[in-house]
Symmetry: C2
Subunit: 237 residues, 2 copies
Amino acid sequence: MNQIDVCLSPELIHLYDITGKIVVAVDILRASSCMTAGISNGVGSIRPFADLEACKAMKTQGYVIAGERNGQKVAGFDLGNSPYDYLQEHLNGKKIAVTTTNGTLAIEKSKNAKMVVIGSFLNKSTLANFLQKKGEDVLIFCAGWKGKFNLEDTLFAGAMVEALKGHFLPSCDAPLAAQALYKDAKKDLRAYLQNSSHVQRLQKLGIDRDIAYCLTEDQLNVIPALSGEEIIALDES
Amino acid sequence: MNQIDVCLSPELIHLYDITGKIVVAVDILRASSCMTAGISNGVGSIRPFADLEACKAMKTQGYVIAGERNGQKVAGFDLGNSPYDYLQEHLNGKKIAVTTTNGTLAIEKSKNAKMVVIGSFLNKSTLANFLQKKGEDVLIFCAGWKGKFNLEDTLFAGAMVEALKGHFLPSCDAPLAAQALYKDAKKDLRAYLQNSSHVQRLQKLGIDRDIAYCLTEDQLNVIPALSGEEIIALDES
């Protein structure tokens, strides 16, 4: 049986052998949710940048630029880090260059994997079905918060372990813990996350609507995947 | 209100400012349980070593030497890593030099803290009362398993967060998650840990009796604390 593992922070990724695995990069609030929303909305490609200036420079190459630091849109950028920004109709077919605090780092650190896909509650079941079909070992890679564990990414990791139980074997304690937390939380993810540090930070920024959207399971049925430097819709035909 | 935080792995400790905090070093299976048992049994001091040979050399200086690698006693050492080894009567007043896989590393990395104490389920409530009385910010530092998250240390961290609720405020998501896991597990810690990777490894070594002992709460009422290079009984008089 294939294995499923969970890496709780980019600071721990060096402990995992990701070659030969499918890595699911996760930054629920909000980078991976934005990417899922954008790709579902017909965005042509999304290119992540760790560096803000490198991202900004893509504007001259015809990219729509999206930037967030500490939860807020960066001045001079076209889009912030709200999934609703990525759902705008005029983005159909466009190329987006994006820089975010945590999510980009996780994607950067995933590049040696066999395949990198983007996970969020939005495309949870579509992704679970895809992983089951592929039959490769899986690592759910939580972006965390400034290198630390965070609850919302871990709950998503747990949701994947739970969705894939019977098909994938947990590799160690992290998937077991994530699964237990998700089972505890799933009745009302939003209420469960009420005390989490990141949710409290975001609520101070007045983006409850984003949080509610990012925590609603199975709204979208795309698999965003890394192809070279860009995230595109995976063609499963 | 003072804060309580949880560091899930030695690989994450650089993200925490431990100066001014009391660090509780935790390696439930079995280093911190052994240390608690030993100090309770009247062992004079316990000196942890990362390096096996450095530890072995202490034999010539009159130390009893204790060594474990991958869960098993090292050849030529007096004691292994069973708490029952540390409960032997003849150890009263003796000095022990110990090297273990994960626990020693966590203690090594705690040395900039205001105070380092040793936590285990064995002395849980004694430790909680002590921390409440001290009124300093607390970091529970899980030794983990080869740098990765492990369940038993995290459950103990959660037990401390739960025991101190109302007196200490969780600093971020890790204490919240640990607390939720502990509340889920506390009815029967041993059954809960049945699927954990480390417990399964240890069971293969035939040390169920150790596991049962290490998971029994509130058997001992000592506070082992780091003083210079050695762990001694904290004198609270």
